[in-house]
């Protein structure tokens, strides 16, 4: 039996998106606590190895304090006799180390920094081989080659574990990540490997079952898009080759996002507050977390559009939610996509300015009008590399613009 802890995308010293510096500091601390817990779990579970599938670091941002922390944790593993294998990823390519100068790695810390796969045999106390770790790393931050394809076939009956930072193109949310060292599931198959420990996509998922190929996901969510419990996979390869994976949560803080886009019947901000509280309770009930970072995304037409767009009222809503919801550190309410409830259609084709605006908007959507012609480039804050990009961007701004226009053009009470 071979047992190991599969971690990936730790992104030490990464950036965190939230409005308060104190919370960002808490999130940075949470990331360290998550890694500390991972190490503690590895020691407690007496694993044979810890595998880190890339992006241990986050670009060249490694601070001295974090480096000290990392080395301390790796020394804990080393002291427990647990080897740690780490392959470089696009955020920490071997050609651009996290900091200048050599780091004082412990003896049992092994780096796969070359794009050409290398192997390392793990043996038990009596010298019998337990598993063979085959890994390859990114040399640059934009590794375009299919590294998985170059992994050698397993040559013995010892279970082989592939360690790679890659974008399996068919993986969920793969599109959210840059396409580095891309591969397809078939590139992981046919090599006789027992398990692929993958990194890059932050959403934990199994991308193949024969052989088992997993993204463990990152160990601490970094922004509102990285919701759900975060941690690592405790993997056991039985003697018969059967693979068992068990998720272990390490992240002290969990991100959650609640989207409410059906607020047409919400007539008071309290209605919204109750809806959010109910949704959050349902979500928090599913995942245990010590603390939460909650983003509430409000969208669609609502009679409260004006109130929800008002920063002061939105802040009140955020504050009241934060104090009402247990263990929630911050609530961010995004209401830029709410629109007032306006019967737009009844004004279409009418002989007045609004009718004309709606006609124009219809013309834009139907392609009769060229958006780029309607607004000069220098009127926009964003800059673009091409007309197409600009036009696509402008089209993205059209969402609910009919309602917005009607809301603004109609006198109060006329909507």
């Amino acid at each position: 039996m071979f047992r190991f802890l599969h971690l990936a995308d730790i992104h030490l010293d990464t950036t965190f998106l939230c409005r308060s510096e104190s919370l960002r500091a808490r999130l940075r601390d949470a990331l360290r606590r998550a890694f500390e817990r991972a190490v503690g779990t590895a020691i407690a579970e007496k694993v044979h190895a810890v595998l880190i599938a890339g992006d241990l670091f986050d670009n060249q941002r490694l601070s001295f304090v974090t480096e000290e922390f990392l080395l301390e944790q790796l020394r804990r593993l080393d002291a427990a006799g647990i080897p740690c294998f780490y392959c470089t990823g696009n955020h920490d390519p071997s050609g651009r180390p996290p900091r200048s100068g050599n780091m004082d790695w412990p003896d049992r810390f092994q780096i796969f920094g070359e794009s050409r796969p290398a192997s390392h045999m793990i043996k038990n106390a009596s010298g019998e081989p337990l598993a063979c770790i085959v890994g390859a790393g990114h040399k640059t931050s934009e590794e375009g080659a299919n590294l998985a394809a170059s992994f050698p076939k397993a040559e013995s009956h010892v279970p082989h574990v592939g360690l790679l930072h890659t974008q399996v193109t068919s993986a969920k949310e793969a599109a959210d990540h840059d396409r580095y060292a891309p591969c397809a599931v078939e590139h992981l198959q046919g090599k006789g490997y027992a398990y692929w420990a993958l990194g890059h996509v932050h959403k934990r998922q199994r991308v193949a079952d024969d052989p088992e190929a997993w993204y463990s996901g990152n160990i601490q969510g970094r922004h509102p898009g990285e919701t759900g419990a975060k941690g690592g996979l405790l993997v056991t390869i039985r003697d018969g080759g059967r693979v068992e994976t068990e998720f272990r949560a390490f992240a002290p803080i969990q991100w959650a996002e609640i989207v409410l886009d059906d607020l047409e019947d919400a007539h008071t901000v309290d209605d919204v507050r109750r809806r959010v509280a109910a949704d959050f309770s349902a979500q928090a009930g599913k995942d245990a977390a010590e603390a939460w970072m909650l983003r509430v995304r409000l969208a669609g037409r609502t009679p409260l559009a004006q109130e929800l767009r008002d920063p002061v009222q939105r802040q009140d809503l955020e504050d009241s939610l934060c104090s009402a919801l247990d263990d929630v550190l911050e609530v961010e309410v995004k209401a830029d996509q709410v629109a007032p409830v306006v019967d737009v259609d009844k004004h279409r084709g009418e002989p007045h300015s609004l009718g004309s605006v709606l006609d124009l908007l219809d013309g834009i959507r139907e392609g009769r009008e060229n958006l780029n012609d309607l607004i000069p480039p220098d009127a926009l804050a964003r800059t673009f590399d091409s007309e197409e990009e600009r036009e696509a961007y402008l089209h993205s701004l059209l969402r609910d613009l009919d309602s917005e226009a009607a809301y603004r053009l109609l006198r109060e009470g006329a909507a």
């Binding site: 300015s353 804050a381 701004l397």
Partner: protein, 864 residues
């Protein structure tokens, strides 16, 4: 389109009302307030556009008495007619539309097909109320609204002016982002913070490197510190060996040497440190004892002499040493002897004065038997009897003499009385002086004066007594009484009593002739002398006894001391012999050598003990066992103990230098540690970049919000531009026609200036045909002119909307109520022109206005 007739089944308060004669270009609906004008208008509109709202309970004109809202309307279109519309509000709205051919179609709640514009627009444009004109009184903004509403928005009142909307969007967008970074836009705030952050990130990068450098420095300091501390520990061991262990070791060696020389001290038990001195001391003591014995002999002789003298009863002229113990007692005895002799002398003298024979001790008993009180009593009795006898005798004598001196005067009595007075006075003065002396505390003087006073008193009393006796009865006959003889016998008897009491004493008889109180005093004095002699005798005997007792005690003590001296002497001699024997043994047969050896070994032992005490004192607090262990260890290791002083100095100097170096290193390390601490507390690049990304994210949102607003702004402006382009020329052309009509040709046409402000051109005259200047449609044009222009534009707008469509009816509600006749007359011209193409409904509560319009416009009057 023209409304021909209608029937109201139920609408508001109206029930089953028919209006069959509406078929006229101008219809004046007349009725007082609350007569139902508004209800009638809404009924017509409901028939044309459907029931709204569709829920009966929320419809303002739905009857509340259970009757269904409904009615019928007949109309004529451009293509003929009549058409009939009927509607009924149940749970849903039902409607039917029947054409001239009689075919009916389900209309539901849709509007009649000829209503080519929405209900809202129709209501906003085709229904003109007094309010619309009153609003024009606000000269500041009225015509701007007119332009925006009538010309820009084709008259709908529920659309905000485009310019206002565009301005608002522009302000909101500019508050978010501006291309020129002017003002205080949100993006500018973010940009400013980003610039600061960039600088802070550069500093953080430098700081991180400094942290690493400082940590390296601290590690280097710690290495150096370890080395220095190791050296210091080594040198301290050496210093310890030189400065602490070496003296201890020397000390210990001295102690060991001394003990070695002292040898087995058991052999010397009982011997003094200097046995020679001990021997000499013993010899000296023996001599002293002998002297003491001689002294005791001498004392025993003295005691013997004393005893002999005491026993002999006299002869105390002893030749005794001056410091003998009897001196005090001998002096006491001598004093007692002297006292006895004095008493005896006094007794002899007393006897000589009082007795007829020399003193004999045999008189002592007779004398002591005399009780002075008894003697005084007997003397008193004698004196009383004697006085009586004297008195009797004197009386008789006096009687005898009186006869003889009958003629003679009594010189003696007067002299006696005078003497009495003098003496009494003197006695009084003396007693008074005694009292004064008592008061002054001089007791001796008081006693003297008292005694003298008493003496003179007594003498005065004697003189008085005598004086009294003297004149008593010089001539009186002799008193009767006891005979003198009897009295004298009594005197003799009383005298015998006195003598009897003093029997045994050889007192001369004369002393008993007239015994008085002086005799008592003498007896007492005599008795005292006898007593004094006896007391002296007793004291002397006591002193002698004491001397004897003391001599005997001395003899006993001396005997005992003598015995003790003899024993002590014998003991000393024994000790002397034993000591000499031991010394001889220790000295190998030579006592002198023995004395020397013993002294030397004893001195060695004392030295060892002194050294041990000094060691304990000098190294109090030192773990001596540990020190001994260390010394033994070092000895085993062959350590050199004979380091030169220069080496010790060098070690100390080096240690001092090491302390300084270590302190300096510690300071550097502490300073570096604080620097590390300070720098570690500063934000890291990750923290700053997090904020940077957060700001980027916020900036993205800000930009997107800005761009969306900006896009909306441009779309609204473009739509407005197109709308105006499409509608304004026609509207303005039609309005120009109307304005010419209503102003009688004074104004010709409307247009817009560059700022899109509405202008009106006055008619050209022959003189200034080429220089006509337009006027802005606003004050100072008169209110009447402006009202006309408003109506002109309004009707032009309506005409424009109806272009190529059905001409829809127009409703005017009390529009002219505040106009003067001239203004109304001009407006009627517009009506006349408009009524050619469309039906006009005028609502009023003023019959005169209805009548005027009936006449001016051939209007049909409908009375509600």
């Amino acid at each position: 389109m023209k409304i021909l007739s209608c029937h109201i089944d139920a609408f508001g308060a109206m029930r089953d009302r028919s209006f069959p004669d509406l078929d006229a270009p101008v219809v004046v609906v007349e009725g007082s307030n609350e007569a139902g004008k508004s209800t009638f208008f809404h009924f017509l509109q409901t028939m044309l556009y459907g029931v709204y709202p569709v829920r009966e309970e929320s419809h303002p004109y739905a009857p509340r008495d259970g009757v269904r809202l409904g009615g019928r309307l007949s109309l004529e279109a451009g293509n003929g007619g009549p058409y009939t519309v009927s509607r009924l509000l149940r749970s849903t709205v039902t409607g039917d539309f029947a054409g001239p051919d009689g075919r009916s179609e389900k209309l539901g709640n849709r509007n009649v097909r000829f209503m080519h514009i929405s209900r809202d627009v129709y209501q906003a444009i085709y229904a003109l109320s007094l309010y619309d004109l009153v609003a024009l009184q606000d000269k500041e903004k009225a015509w701007q609204r007119v332009q925006d509403r009538l010309v820009g928005g084709l008259g709908v009142d529920f659309i905000r002016p485009i310019r206002e909307v565009v301005r608002q969007i522009d302000a909101e967008a500019s508050a978010l982002w501006r291309p020129d970074l002017r003002g205080n836009s949100e993006s500018k705030r973010i940009d400013a913070r980003q610039k600061i952050l960039k600088q802070e990130m550069r500093e953080a990068k430098v700081r991180d490197q400094e942290l690493r450098d400082l940590t390296g420095e601290v590690e280097q300091y710690e290495r150096e510190d370890r080395e220095l501390r190791e050296e210091r520990a080594r040198l301290r061991t050496e210093k310890h060996r030189i400065e602490r262990l070496r003296p201890i070791r020397n000390h210990l060696q001295g102690i060991a040497d001394a003990w070695r020389e002292a040898g087995d001290q058991e052999e010397l038990v009982g011997l003094q440190d200097d046995p020679g001195a001990t021997l000499e001391e013993i010899a000296r003591k023996i001599v002293e004892l002998d002297n003491e014995r001689q002294q005791l002999e001498s004392e025993r002789e003295v005691a013997g002499c004393v005893l002999a003298a005491v026993e002999a009863g006299a002869g105390f002229d002893l030749n005794m040493p001056s410091d003998n113990p009897y001196d005090g007692l001998l002096r006491d005895r001598k004093r007692a002897e002297d006292e006895l002799q004095g008493a005896e002398r006094a007794l002899i003298e007393q006897a000589r004065d009082m007795l007829t024979a020399a003193w004999d001790d045999g008189f002592a008993d007779a004398l002591e038997r005399i009780a002075p009180a008894e003697l005084r009593e007997r003397i008193n009795r004698f004196e009383n009897v004697q006085r009586a006898a004297d008195t009797r005798r004197q009386a008789e004598e006096t009687q005898k003499q009186a006869a003889a001196m009958q003629q003679a005067s009594e010189p003696d009595a007067g002299a006696l009385r005078k003497t009495f007075r003098n003496q009494a006075m003197l006695a009084g003065l003396l007693l008074l002086g005694a009292c004064v002396a008592v008061a002054l505390g001089s007791m001796e003087l008081a006693i003297g004066l008292g005694v003298a006073g008493a003496g003179f008193g007594y003498m005065a009393w004697q003189a008085r007594t005598q004086a009294r006796r003297t004149p008593a009865s010089p001539t009186a006959p002799f008193a009767a009484g006891r005979p003198l003889e009897e009295i004298e016998a009594d005197v003799a008897a009383r005298r015998a009593d006195v003598r009897e009491l003093m029997a045994g004493l050889p007192v001369p008889d004369s002393r008993f002739d007239r015994p008085d109180m002086a005799l008592v005093s003498e007896v007492r004095s005599f008795q005292d002398a006898v007593g004094a002699r006896r007391t002296a005798q007793e004291r002397l005997a006591q002193r002698m006894g004491e001397l004897q007792a003391m001599a005997r005690r001395e003899e006993s003590r001396i005997a005992e001391a003598h015995r003790d001296l003899a024993q002590e002497c014998a003991s000393l001699e024994t000790e002397q012999d034993a000591l000499k024997e031991r010394l001889r043994e220790l000295g190998g047969g030579d006592p002198e050598e023995g004395i020397r050896l013993v002294s030397a070994r004893k001195r060695a032992r004392q030295l060892a003990e002194t050294l041990e005490e000094k060691l304990a004192t000098d190294y109090a607090g030192e773990d001596m066992a540990k020190a001994r262990q260390e010394i033994e260890t070092l000895d085993r290791q062959g350590a050199a103990w004979d380091a030169a002083d220069e080496e010790a100095i060098a070690v100390n100097e080096r240690l001092a230098a090491l302390d300084e170096e270590i302190n300096a290193l510690t300071e550097k390390r502490t300073a570096a540690g604080k620097d590390i601490e300070n720098r570690s507390a500063q934000p890291t690049r990750a923290a700053l970049e997090s904020e940077q990304e957060q700001l980027e994210s916020e900036l993205d949102v800000v930009k997107e919000r800005h761009d969306r607003l900006r896009l909306l702004q441009h779309i609204v402006r473009e739509a407005d531009r197109r709308f105006r382009e499409e509608h304004q020329p026609d509207v303005l052309q039609r309005a120009s026609g109307y304005v010419q009509t209503v102003t009688g040709g004074r104004y010709e046409r409307f247009d817009y200036d560059e700022d899109e402000r509405l202008r009106v051109y006055p008619a050209r005259d022959s003189q200034h045909s080429s220089h006509v200047r337009p006027w802005s449609v606003e004050a100072p044009l008169s209110q009447g002119t402006l009202d006309q222009m408003y109506l002109a534009i309004r009707f032009a707008l309506i005409d424009h909307l109806d272009e190529d469509q059905e001409s829809l009816p127009v409703f005017l509600d009390e529009v002219f109520v505040n106009w003067d006749r001239e203004r109304r007359a001009r407006c009627y011209d517009i009506f006349s022109e408009a009524a050619v193409r469309r039906q006009v409904f005028v609502f009023t509560c003023h019959p005169w206005l209805a009548e005027e319009m009936e006449q001016a416009l051939s209007a049909k009057r409908i009375l509600l």
